[in-house]
Amino acid sequence: MEKEVFLSIAKEFGLDLDDPHMEELYAYVQRVLPNLKRIEELNLTGLEPFMPYPSHEVSP
């Protein structure tokens, strides 16, 4: 994620951009977001989002 995009989203959410903690957060976000790329490796064709299962379909 580009730094500008990061700062824009952070500002919109209401984080304090002057907080020195923002640099640490940016570095952490850069480590976590690549996990989204891993999801893109999967073929999700025809799949809907997971829902906690209703009780009628879960009997062992």
């Binding site: 959410f13 999801i39 999700l44």
Partner: protein, 470 residues
């Protein structure tokens, strides 16, 4: 019987003593309070103790039992609750001083059911702040300490539960598990920890971390005790939208003592990730033992296992951020820094990313079900390492430097993602005399087979009988 001996008994043993009137609830509660008072300076397992209230409840239980109004096997038995289970009139901190003054005006469903079963609350247990961490470190209320070596972590997030139950400060405690938070401290402290199927136990009246992965569950010293607690707390709850209306079985009836013919699977991908040699040695010895007991062992492949952490952690982050968004805005600098980082990172996961990840979870769930077409139980190590010093952020395991959170959750998190029932039981000790856990996982809502397998293994081995040197 002296008070330390009382505190070493299981729920079933205490219950028998109460029924035979060989020990009174008051005697038992006083023994536990004395044990807590002597160990708390070393272990820091509790955030709030309610000793006076516990003594009053014990006197009441004694009167009821003497009058012939015996409520069942938990009547007069003390217990602890992780400090995120609401109890009417008692503060609920969720492990952070930000909520030090929050006093719920109602009981969680599980609190209520334990009270109705005659259980006696001793106190609220220490936890990783907001349940968002696996080590049991808490700078605000003090770190939780492992009773086997107090310089080491108890594990988390239900770390107070792990140290309290293992050290005999309470015979059982209710924890919560979003990525392993019941099973990790149970394994590191050498006790039994059970995460039933998602939907089996009500989440109503508990501080959420990630709604779709949060699981309540018991932490005990034996599998039989675990089944007894499950009997008291399981069942449909209209206040929890994901509560199942499948009637719960009598879990104690599942403990048949044998597993002959049970099909047990070992996931080969679980040994492609870092694991300490003491843990893998104990695991394979346990597999040999299960085979001797008549289990049919096979190796299986679960290719999507390697995606589990990515899927689960993204969903957890997005949901935790959604729940705590006002807290992040108003109290950001007061939140424990590692937890604050995780919570704020969720801001950067978009709605479409979240939904895409939930679609990946559907794929993961389907593959999980397929694995069980030819299996009854998966057997895995619970945690790939034993407890390590408080303050550690990474470890060198299998020649790889690994972040401790990823390491601690690598075998537990997949079963929060698919919601399948999973239990840990002690399966050995390291060269440093630290406990090691073995995990049994079953099909959704087949907790009976999970308990049956875990119980048969436990009864054939001596590990659950060892006590920490305190």
């Amino acid at each position: 019987m002296d008070s330390k001996e009382i505190c070493e008994l299981s729920i079933s043993e205490l219950s028998r003593l109460i029924q035979k009137k060989e020990a009174s609830p008051l005697e038992i509660v006083e023994a536990y309070i004395s044990r807590v008072n002597s160990l708390e300076p070393q272990l820091n397992s509790f955030i709030t103790l309610v000793s006076d209230q516990a003594i009053e409840s014990a006197k009441q239980a004694e009167k009821e039992i003497q009058a012939g109004r015996y409520l069942g096997p938990l009547h007069g038995i003390p217990f602890g609750l992780k400090d995120l289970y609401y109890v009417k009139g008692i503060r609920n901190t969720s492990g952070t001083k930000i909520f030090d003054g929050f006093i719920p005006d109602y009981d969680s469903t599980i609190t209520l059911r334990l009270k109705k079963a005659g259980g006696i609350l001793l106190g609220k247990l220490n936890m990783h702040p907001l349940a968002y961490g696996a080590t049991g470190e808490n700078e605000e209320y003090g770190h939780m300490h492992n009773p086997w070596n107090t310089a080491l972590i108890a594990g988390g997030s239900s770390g107070g539960n792990g140290s309290a139950v293992a050290s005999g400060q309470c015979p059982f405690a209710m924890g919560s598990d979003t990525g392993g938070s019941i099973r990790i401290p149970s394994a590191l402290c050498g006790i039994v920890g059970f995460k039933p199927t998602y939907g089996r136990l009500s989440r109503y009246g508990m501080t959420p971390l990630a709604w779709s992965q949060d699981h309540p569950g018991p932490m005990t010293r034996t599998v039989e005790d675990c089944a007894m607690v499950m009997n008291a707390v399981a069942g449909y709850d209209p206040n929890d939208p994901t509560s199942t209306n499948l009637p719960p079985p009598d879990y104690t009836q599942a403990l048949k003592g044998e597993i002959k013919g049970l099909r047990l699977g070992v996931v080969k991908e679980f040994f492609e990730v870092p694991i300490e040699s003491d843990v893998s040695d104990s695991f394979w010895k346990a597999i040999d033992q299960l085979a001797e007991l008549g289990g049919i062992i096979s190796e299986i492949s679960w290719p999507l296992y390697h995606y589990g952490t990515a899927i689960a952690s993204l969903i957890q982050m997005a949901e935790a951020t959604a729940y705590h968004r006002e807290l992040i805005r108003k109290n950001g600098p007061q939140i424990y820094p590692p937890v604050r980082l995780r919570l704020e990172t969720g801001i950067f996961i978009s709605a479409s990313d979240y939904i895409q990840t939930q679609r990946a979870r559907t794929l993961f769930y389907h593959q999980s079900l397929n694995i069980f077409k030819n299996l009854d139980i998966l057997v895995t190590p619970t945690v790939p390492v034993t407890a390590f010093p408080i303050g550690t952020t990474s470890l060198l395991v299998s020649n790889q430097k690994v972040n401790v959170i990823s390491l601690l959750t690598q075998y537990t998190r997949p079963f929060n993602l698919n919601g399948f029932p999973a239990i840990t039981v002690p399966c050995g000790f390291s060269k440093d005399q630290l406990p090691i856990g073995l995990q049994f996982v079953g099909r959704p809502f087949d907790e009976e087979t999970v308990l049956r397998a875990a119980h048969a293994y436990e009864q054939a081995t001596p590990w659950h009988l060892r006590r920490p040197p305190l």
